[in-house]
Amino acid sequence: MNFIKRGFLGITRKKGKSLILLAVILILGSLISGAISIQQATSNVEKSVKERLGAAATLELDWEEYDKLSEEEMMNVELENIGVDLIKQIGGLSYVKYYDYSVSTMLGSESLEAYRGEMEEDFIHEGPSMDFTLKGINYAPVLDFEEQKGKLVDGRVFTQEEVDNGTSVAVISKKLAEKNNLNVGDTFTFVNVVYTYDEETGEEDIAASRDVVLEVIGLFESQFIKEDAETASDGGMMDWMDMDYQNTVYVPNEIVLNENKYQFEEYMKTDEEYAEMMEGEEEASFEYYTPMFVLNSPEDSEAFEEEVLPLLPDYYTVVSATDQYDSIAGPMESMSKLSKYVLIAAVIATVLITGLVVLLFLRDRKRELGIYLSLGESRGRVVGQILIEVMVVAFIGITLSLFSGNFIASQVSDTMMKADNNTSNEDVYYYSELQINLTTDDVMDSYEVSLNSSYILVFYGIGLLTILISTVIPLVYIVRLNPKKILM
């Protein structure tokens, strides 16, 4: 009949009391574990969604701010360009893994046929239209490839020399190359056509044109279509996106700048009014670079924004890929909030109620403790016996509530997500400058209530510790008295 055996006998002999204690721990434990499960699931979603959104950020005009201006103010506002120097300065921040700035233009070609995917027939071929996007780059390894938007499958990327000198080289999509029988090392030709436009007749005329000859140095394949191929429901949209990308041609920024300049200069020759208006404008005004910064981690977004905002000219802002998260994560956020309140309430209730239950439990046992002490049992073992009784029951209760709480959490989440999802705008697609597409459904899909080992450990740890403390404190309070006082 040592104290360990007495402890276990205490549980089985007093089934009623053990069951009450078990029930209390189970109910409160379920609440806590349910709330923690939801909390954890939501924070996992935040992480995984932000991970998917990536760590890209760009600088854009802050339309919201700009729209607040009165018409008069708008007239007077001088919108500064984001210069290369500023981009380089921001690119040098410690949060930035790598960065690029890009200028783009659309060009047509007489010899090159655009890739049309499966929608070939829908197009009427009619002379050279501006089917191709020339995307200038400054970052030689190509940011889009590093960010898995595309993947180099043949040839090579640019060298820094080619970028700096504006060498006439290009990386094109493999599909475009196949369609036009182009290989690495071949050359192809765009035409840069300057049109005049008669406002009265609405007729267009060719004012000037020149050829742009580029050498293929590499072929890429689009990456993002593959991921989403299975979810064919949005196939139409995706095909368009993909087609656009297949007809994108990567070239050094300098190439694009030269063509833009040609357009501008030739156009000025045809339109005197316009030429006058533009008189005195610096050359640099062609350089509307779109910067793109890739941060070390999505979690850096906020800090990055904070640091960059003061550097920007008026009416510019930082747009991060993770910004989208806030607009899609609505239903989840509300659940996370609710579960936080439940958690706080449940923890307080648990400490109070288990404390009370254990106290009542012990008040009944006070005499018993005195008897053991009067028989010469050591204080440690008397405490140990009661702890065995309470902690074994607590352990069972916590184990059960881990599962029941998890079950409750997934039930609650399911109903709440569904209810919330129906009221929110359905299947809105979010496309931005950053070209990442995510739907509310994607967020829901990555929401998963599950048990992971660190959570289990923490839950056991906190649960057992709470009960241990609420047991030991009154126990020690009793046992430190001499046996006569306890037995009185």
Binding site: R6, Y372, S374, N482, K484
Partner: protein
């Protein structure tokens, strides 16, 4: 001399004043004798017994067990290995059976005991008058007299020589009282134990080998 109390003082602080329950109380006990300590209710009998059994400590003075200060032995150790205590209200553990209650101190003590403690416990209960089928009952399903027998068996289970009992028959009827007193006599006279019984009953005092009277904090021989 198995047990000796020397100049025990015990008081309650009553505002500024000390109200002495025991004042310079000295007394000694021998093995093989049945002692009673007589006194009116509230005279301090329980206080004295709790000092002798190390359930409480005196404000001054000492208690010697076999010439050794029990403080030096250690109160816990002294209770565990050297004495058996019997209370007026039995103080058994209600969730356990009679035999389990007897087994408890056997698992606590450091005294050498026979291997088969269960048999010893049953035999002890049987000797005190609790038969096997009652020994396996939870103690709260036993009568008062039976419960006090279990408590006596528990006090004897660790094979001690000193038994201290605080009004052990206070809750029992006269017939039962006599049976219990007979057990105490037998323990002292046949088994050589020192039995000290606190009581307010003259009848019991008359049957003891030596009786003391506790009055106004002073302990005196009672003839």
């Amino acid at each position: 001399m198995i047990l000796e109390a020397k100049d025990l003082n015990y008081y309650y602080q009553d505002g500024e004043q000390r109200r002495y329950i025991l004042k310079d109380t000295s007394v000694s006990f021998e093995k093989g004798k049945f002692y009673t300590i007589l006194g009116q209710s509230g005279s301090g009998k329980t206080t004295l017994l709790s000092l002798l059994s190390a359930l409480d400590s005196p404000h001054s003075g000492e208690v010697l067990f076999n010439q050794e200060d029990i403080k030096k032995i250690g109160y816990e150790k002294y209770r565990r290995n050297n004495i058996g205590i019997i209370f007026q209200n039995y103080n058994l553990i209600p969730t356990f059976t009679a035999v389990e209650n007897v087994l408890i101190p056997m698992s606590i003590t450091e005294n050498e005991l026979p291997e088969d403690s269960k048999t010893v416990a049953y035999n002890l209960l049987d000797y005190i008058g609790i038969v096997k089928n009652k020994a396996d009952r939870p103690v709260n399903k036993l009568s008062g007299g039976e419960q006090q027998r279990v408590a006596i068996a528990r006090a004897l289970a660790t094979n001690v020589e000193l038994i201290l009992a605080d009004e052990p028959t206070g809750n029992l009827d006269e017939e039962m009282e006599q049976e219990i007193i007979d057990i105490f006599k037998k323990l002292a006279h046949e088994h050589g134990k020192c039995v000290i019984v606190v009581t307010h009953s003259n009848e019991i005092a008359l049957q003891s080998d030596q009786a003391f009277l506790l009055k106004k904090g002073v302990l005196a021989s009672y003839e």
